[in-house]
Symmetry: C2
Subunit: 460 residues, 2 copies
């Protein structure tokens, strides 16, 4: 599917709006007898709804040597059932005047449709069908492999930044499936077998492993009979444990360097391990404020200092992925200005980080940041798909409806002391890290051209 496009939107959305969850979504939740968890987020501005089904299985749940299976399977979900031909699903949604898509993350796979509320039953009937009766014609099994391989070629192999990020993740997440790309490794995509694909569906696509989020012109009372009618018949399954090994203590500092012919402008990256919002809410909220102070726009510390004042960087940012099942990350990314090496830029980031560790942040900074995050939360409520995304992603990674609803009140309680504490805890390199941060240098090519014959010998 158009997975990555949606995913890009999704990342963008969250980097600006994820922390912006107000207490006034007014979400209601209930659970069917078969275990399907349902959340309704009423929004009556227009007679439309966004319907999202989140399956709690993603790239990090694939078996060894079957990387990318969750994502490949997401594609297959559009390839027909006993009564629908391949492609008919999306065609029908389009005829109904709606749109649909799907995406796969490390921890979940999600399918969404936006349609008029009158057409919701039709959508739910089709969803119930493909979640129970998926039956793609055999030729689609292998042709869809080619589609995914091509997707990988375009989005990863031909994008040095994506390729490098993949190797950064692989080096960072020792012994943990977050080190494996969601789309999968080339060799392994090629080798999927139908039995394994079928087993994936039978294992994870179960109502007691799913969350339904409906946002829009509907109430829980109206949705309840529909969910019962369409999804009540999905059979509960015995779910296996999700195998998520711990990252072992890894104190070595890791530097990755890639010279790439497509790169003209050097780029610096750094990855730190960070807590997830669901596992350590107190620290996570304080980190969200810290990240906003350091990197929440043109007046934030990093941009102001490195780009505007010192003019040593063209871009300078810190982002925080808090919504994950196992591990969160803090990511530094920067483009050095002319005559500045990425190593220099690394030092400049280091100095800004040291400043916050040793001197903390001011009352005014925290106040301003909280106000801004709260304002963003108010905007978040305006959208239809946005809140469904927020609830689905947070809940699929262990947060509760209450966590999301209480986010604005909870973030408002963060103090400069909290921010200083988490800066010391998660960014101070004098700490005995569980997993030391890693540095990445993505640089223009400097090596001579490779010889064809050697290429041949090595790749045999």
């Amino acid at each position: 599917m158009k997975t990555r496009i949606v995913f890009a939107f999704f990342i963008l959305y969250f980097s600006t709006l994820s922390p912006a969850i107000g207490s006034t979504f007014g979400a209601e939740e209930f659970t069917l007898d078969n275990g399907l968890q349902v959340v309704v987020i009423p929004n009556h501005r227009a007679p439309v709804v966004t319907h999202m089904l989140w399956v709690k299985a993603g790239g990090a749940d694939n078996l060894p040597a079957q990387s990318g299976m969750a994502h490949y399977f997401e594609h297959l979900m559009f390839k027909g059932t006993k009564t629908m031909a391949p492609g008919d699903y999306s065609k029908t949604i389009k005829i109904l005047g709606g749109n649909d898509n799907a995406f796969t993350g490390e921890d979940y796979t999600a399918f969404f449709e936006s349609v008029s509320v009158a057409n919701l039953p039709k959508v739910m009937a089709m969803e119930a069908d493909r979640f129970q009766n998926l039956s793609p014609p055999p030729e689609h099994f292998s042709s869809e492999k080619s589609v995914v391989l091509e997707e990988r070629r375009q989005r990863t192999e031909n994008d040095p930044r994506a390729l490098f990020m993949e190797q950064m993740d692989a080096a960072f997440f020792i012994n943990h499936p977050y080190g494996t790309p969601v789309i999968g490794w080339m060799d392994e995509i090629k080798n999927y077998e139908w039995n394994d694909v079928k087993k994936y569906y039978d294992t994870w696509y179960a109502p007691n492993n799913m969350i339904l989020v409906v946002s829009g012109d509907i109430s829980a009372q109206e949705l309840k009979p529909l969910t019962q009618k369409y999804y009540g018949g999905l059979a509960r399954k015995n779910l296996p444990a999700r195998i998520r090994p711990n990252i072992p203590d890894a104190q070595a500092i890791t530097d990755l360097t890639l010279h790439h012919p497509q790169i003209t402008q050097a780029q610096y990256y750094k990855l730190y391990l960070a807590p997830t919002e669901a596992k350590n809410r107190a620290d996570s909220l304080a980190l969200q404020v810290l990240v906003d102070i350091l990197s929440g726009g043109p007046t934030s510390r990093l941009y102001k200092s490195l780009v505007v004042e010192q003019k040593k960087a063209i871009t300078a940012s810190l982002s925080y992925n808090a919504n994950a099942l196992d591990y969160g990350t803090l990511s530094i990314e920067g483009t050095p200005a002319q005559d500045i090496t990425p190593q220099d830029l690394s030092q400049l980031f280091e100095e800004e980080v040291k400043k916050v560790i040793t001197q903390g942040v001011s009352d005014a900074e925290v106040k301003e940041s909280i106000q801004k995050l709260e304002d963003e939360a108010i905007f978040a409520r305006d959208s239809l798909a946005g809140p469904a995304m927020i609830f689905g992603q947070a809940m699929a990674t262990g947060s509760s409806v209450a966590d999301i609803e209480n986010w604005p009140q909870d973030i408002a309680k963060i103090t400069p002391q909290d921010v200083a504490r988490v800066a010391k805890t998660y960014l101070d390199e004098n700490n005995p890290w569980v997993r030391a941060p890693i540095n990445g240098y993505l640089l223009p090519a400097e090596k001579p051209q490779m010889q064809e014959d050697i290429n041949h010998v090595r790749k045999e």
Copy 2:
């Protein structure tokens, strides 16, 4: 067990003698109906035998989150059967005047006993018993976890070199179980469950997954009825496929740096991917000659140039692990002389490597090296346990008896052109690597002492 001690001997043995396999071992082989492969290496100098059972499952066959299971299970094999108490196995061997031990590698687990030939039937009876009727008392299940955890503490956690090598392997072997230590990660050893342990035994300990190697005062004709009597009753099992994913293309250069308080002398390491002997015999044999020329003793290139002449290093070596199921490695290791940084030493190694890539090696060097390797092969035949080790390790990683027997003739055919070719193929950094080599810098501590409270926060 005394695994690591034996393993050390084993490594030492192979680094000097592995290539030294003559065609005159006179080995004979046969296979039992249940699939047990048997090799006999006659040696009639004394009325003794070494009996080795190799199970084709090791550290790299453990399931996710069960690292170290193969090694832990090797320990359990000494913890009693329905008729033997824990520890009785080794006690009995000692009473018989023999000795026994076991060790676990990435690809295999091996058990060996050296006894007088008269006592061989007794040993085989005990082996048949523990390979079928293992039944350690429940209290040994958890007490042996403590033993292994303590082994890990002593041999890895308290040895910065071992700790660093573990992190080098983890960074190098992306997506492949060779990145996981054979002894296992601390957290995962603690969490073994009895069902998983039992399943490991039931899955892999099968005659059709084993090789018996007997070296010493016995012939195949004499051994055959004994193997039939004692091992003929072991039941063949359906073996699962060994899941060994490929390392994906990884072009980024990786540098690992660890500052450690126990390190007083900096150390430099480098790891390259290399072919295995079983998968690419021609290249592997040429690499064995190359490695001998570069690092086969005090007159070899690296030692002579870096240590003796330039006096820039205290040690300088290159070693080659060719006997593995999936991937071999070339490992550079060096200790810089005073006032030389490990980065400088890295450059010096680089120059020597470049020299061999651009200028190749001489006829005389190849001739001398082959002569030396052949001489070592003659020595190898003298030992009892040595040949059993060589056959077991090579066969458990995919080589045949003929491969081992023909090694001296085959290595004698290696030419300077072959050596130059493999130097270019496997050591030239201008190649498009499948997996780029990685550098390791193990250095004295330079960081300030960590604060106890931060320690506490981060490790929570």
